[in-house]
Symmetry: C2
Subunit: 424 residues, 2 copies
């Protein structure tokens, strides 16, 4: 028997890489640029809303405009992230090209007028829609189209948060609960890196969360991974998982309620707006409107402030969760992930003194943990912890994301996520 | 419709965690302690061999003793890692308890007398065998036994290298090429962390590879992830993948040749010893014997020296690969992973000047890349990069491990690894 050295196998592998290198570079450039434009617009919208506070009174009108445009010209774009995932599971009608501009402007309008929403959904939908268009252009066959759509998710996600490896793993992990398949591994990594590269070449900078700073805790007990802290982190992560569960179920429940009790579809965003603005008025703060990374004057509840333990209350996480669920279920557009970061970071910060752990560590753990629970992507979120906060607390990141994943139960924000196997 | 809040679901999840917390703590304590004892013995054996160089002339006798003991009293222990994986795929006869002491002493004997081998196989087999024994004691049912055996792999791997998250992901990823299932996620993480904790409580310290030091490259071009360096890393990783392929295929081929042309089983280690010692004599160095992390006098080819670019030649990687393949295929015991680290680190260091990249970066990338290729575990190896070398070069780690995984083709050192889907 002679040594197996199958050159033809490696030629196939080489051609595979060259082919995907080319098409994911095109995809990454397109998606990364679209995301850069989106992030720039989003920033402008946020700043303008801060400068012109009366804009929020037009939130109902913006909502009506969004749902009417989607109903009249959206085709099936309203399917959103779920449509992208469905087309990967069961390629059918495809993702309409118009999804990209629609979700872009609808999200920016949502933010301009004070809806509480995120941005990853927008990036993922632009990624999916651009991938569909390019895939048709390149005449990809069905299996390749599925991989390419997955690449679209990876490129969008990687670019919007500046976390390429997280984007790639997220795209693979989000499709099916409890399983990850590797066919799209290399294409997704390339797409995500190209997307991130293109986005940063447009001069986009991502918020840096100064957290778990090596300098801050290096000589501290937290830097050493101890059983006691690990146990505390695991316990706290049960709360993160339950928060993810609550967010997912509340969003689905409100969507059902709106559909059932408000048959006239364009009335839904009016009610949603009234609730969002009314609750904000009663709370006496606008901190829970918009993207929530920063606040207008730098004080108050925001993701950045959660890491310092400033400006947040014990219930900040709940109000953001509630306002986002209302905003998205009543017809506004945007993502769920940045609000989940907000919910997690403020919940973590609120729990910090209870658990006797540093507030920045707990905010960081909540940030990735609630996201892991609500989307059922424990590995992607663990890696996001490393990409955003460094390697020092990796064991805690993994405990957080794995436990939050478990305790979000068989729930999740993406209804098109397949369930491969029960969590336990 | 009211909000779904299924308390019974969360009670089930809570009981799941408490149950696995308890049994993985027992498993982790047992496996971590066994691994600590093994690592201590291995260190003693290595030091004694350095002090008594004539011990290598007894390598043939040690080999005969090993294969005879396995043949007469080993039951099916000779199945090794593959037996552990088979019992997870298709629980059947189980893993014999005697596998633990057998593989422990056979590996130590292999190292004491100068065979070229590693240690993760030993740790994994001890983990699997101890998990089987404890699982029988706890009267686990079939599905739980499968998870528990996977936990045994995780605990053994996590403890032997001091990389708990890598251990958990490795255990999940290694079973099936191209797919990862999540049922065992939390149990494996707990087992791996308990195993690592127990091992370090016995005072075991793991070799620290001073590599990609933040201080060294922080202001350097390497610290910024650039397309040029990414492309170079991807190209270099093709070589890492091919080295993994070569190692796997050479080991399988030599095993077949020994079985076919040397029917008397105890003659095989005599021939293997003669080849290992003869090649070492011709090369004029004993650097490729034993575990290879360090050398007797600190100079020459070793993993540690590869990171400095000292003492290695352009072909160091090949000689280690060859001697390890001969050692293991002729009947000696030990793991493949540390030799794969050696092959990768020396190959990376040898390629560094060709690619114009720092030698420590390339050694680190080869270290994880060849391992990823030979075992088809790209995610575990990416995370190992973070656990050993920090987060700074994470994008390069992922490129390396994913490309090496791809270019090792449909090959791998574990014949019981199932193939779920083609790599492309």
């Amino acid at each position: 028997m002679s040594l197996r050295w199958d050159t033809s196998e490696h030629i196939v592998l080489g051609r595979f890489v060259v082919k995907w290198l080319f098409i994911t570079a095109v995809l990454g450039a397109a998606v990364g640029s679209a995301v850069a434009f989106f992030l720039w617009l989003l920033h402008q919208a946020t700043v303008i809303r801060w400068q012109l506070p009366w804009l929020v009174y037009f939130l109902p009108l913006a909502g009506i405009a969004i749902v009417v445009v989607y109903a009249k010209w959206g085709k099936n774009s309203a399917g959103g992230n779920n449509l992208v995932m469905e087309q990967i599971h069961e390629p059918g009608g495809g993702i309409p090209k118009r999804m990209s501009p629609l979700v872009l402007f609808a999200t920016v309008a949502t933010h301009l007028f004070g809806g509480s929403a995120g941005r990853e959904g927008t990036a993922v939908q632009m990624g999916g829609s651009i991938a569909q268009a390019l895939g048709d252009l390149f005449k990809l066959n069905k299996p390749d189209t599925r991989i390419f759509l997955t690449c679209g998710i990876a490129a969008g996600f990687g670019a919007v948060f500046g976390t390429p490896l997280t984007g790639a793993i997220f795209a693979l992990e989000v499709l099916t609960l409890g399983r990850m398949r590797y066919e799209a591994l290399i294409p997704c990594l390339m797409a995500s890196m190209f997307g991130d590269l293109a986005c940063s070449m447009w001069g986009i900078h991502h918020t840096h969360y100064s957290i778990i700073a090596a300098a801050l805790h290096l000589d501290d007990a937290v830097a050493k991974i101890t059983p006691l802290i690990s146990g505390k982190v695991a316990l706290a992560s049960i709360f993160f998982g339950l928060a993810g569960y609550l967010f997912a179920e509340l969003t689905h429940t409100l969507s059902h309620l709106f559909t059932k009790y408000v048959p006239t579809y364009w009335v839904r965003p009016i009610i949603g707006s009234a609730l969002v603005l009314g609750i904000s008025y009663l709370l006496g703060t606008r901190d829970y409107l918009g993207i929530g990374v920063l606040t207008a004057d730098g004080t108050g509840a925001s993701i950045v402030n959660a890491f310092k333990g400033d400006g947040i209350t014990a219930w900040s996480w709940f109000w953001k969760l509630l306002l986002t669920a209302i905003t998205l279920s009543s017809g506004f557009k945007g993502g769920e992930v940045t609000p989940l970061f907000f919910v997690g970071a403020t919940l973590g910060a609120a729990l910090a003194s209870l658990f006797g752990l540093p507030v920045d560590l707990m905010a960081g753990l909540g940030f990735i943990g609630v996201f892991a629970g609500a989307t059922n992507t424990p590995l992607a979120c663990t890696i996001m912890g490393v990409e955003l906060f460094g390697a020092q607390c990796l064991p805690y990141f993994s405990i957080t994301c794995f436990f939050a994943y478990l305790f979000s139960g068989h729930s999740g924000i993406y209804l098109s996520q397949k369930m491969e196997s029960a969590k336990c």
